[in-house]
């Protein structure tokens, strides 16, 4: 019974860690390959929220009920609070300085 529970927790944490790794990689590729600053921002915010949530949740499951899990929870809380704040501040600062989003990429391709 207990063995099965341990295996189940391990499998769930592995799935979360793999999802987090894939999200991190997608975000990194998107930051390098997206055409516009605001679309790059969108790709980078994927790693700020989804990857942080998945990776740290997987590590909390691995740590079990201990002090390490509490520290990981604090790291997750701080990263989830500060990542979107920094993204918002960056987008706001870019928009206020007059950097316009590209909106005619699709129209050029169609016509």
């Amino acid at each position: 019974m207990i063995e099965g529970l341990h295996l189940f927790v391990d499998i769930v944490s592995w799935i979360l860690l793999i999802i987090g790794s894939i999200c991190v990689l997608i975000g990194g590729i998107g930051v390098l390959r997206m055409p516009d600053f605001y679309s790059r921002l969108h790709a980078a915010s994927l790693t700020d929220t989804m990857a942080t949530l998945a990776l740290l949740s997987g590590m909390i499951l691995q740590a079990g009920f201990s002090l390490a899990a509490a520290k990981l929870f604090a790291i997750m809380l701080f990263l989830l609070l500060t990542g979107p704040t920094a993204t918002y501040a960056l987008a706001n600062s870019a928009l206020l300085s007059g950097y316009k989003p590209k909106t005619d990429v699709l129209e050029k391709k169609v016509s």
């Binding site: 894939i22 990194g28 390098l32 600053f37 790291i75 990263l79 920094a86």
Partner: protein
């Protein structure tokens, strides 16, 4: 074993972020890449704590997460003020 794979994925993403920071046409692209690099540093430290079984690395990750936010906000404030003062709208 799986933590080695996760740390490899994070390291690849950090290299891609550095590439964008070198390439980035505007200053905001560079800031975005540096911010992403800092966030990934905190994640990588947390993964390394599990990879090598050293729990004290978690405190370092916590400190990096806090330093990163303060650094990015300070740099943004500086650039916004500089752009307002110059009247330069390109953000370059």
């Amino acid at each position: 074993m799986i933590f080695a794979g996760v740390s490899c994925a994070i390291l690849v993403t950090m290299v891609l972020a550095i590439a964008r920071a070198i390439k980035g046409p505007t200053v905001y692209d560079r800031l975005l890449a540096v911010n992403m690099f800092g966030t990934k540093t905190a994640l990588l430290l947390a993964v390394i704590a599990f990879l090598f079984g050293r729990a004290d690395f978690l405190d370092l990750a916590l400190a990096y997460a806090l330093i990163n936010l303060v650094g990015v906000l300070a740099v943004l404030e500086f650039f916004q003020n500089r752009i307002d003062a110059n009247g330069d709208a390109s953000g370059d």
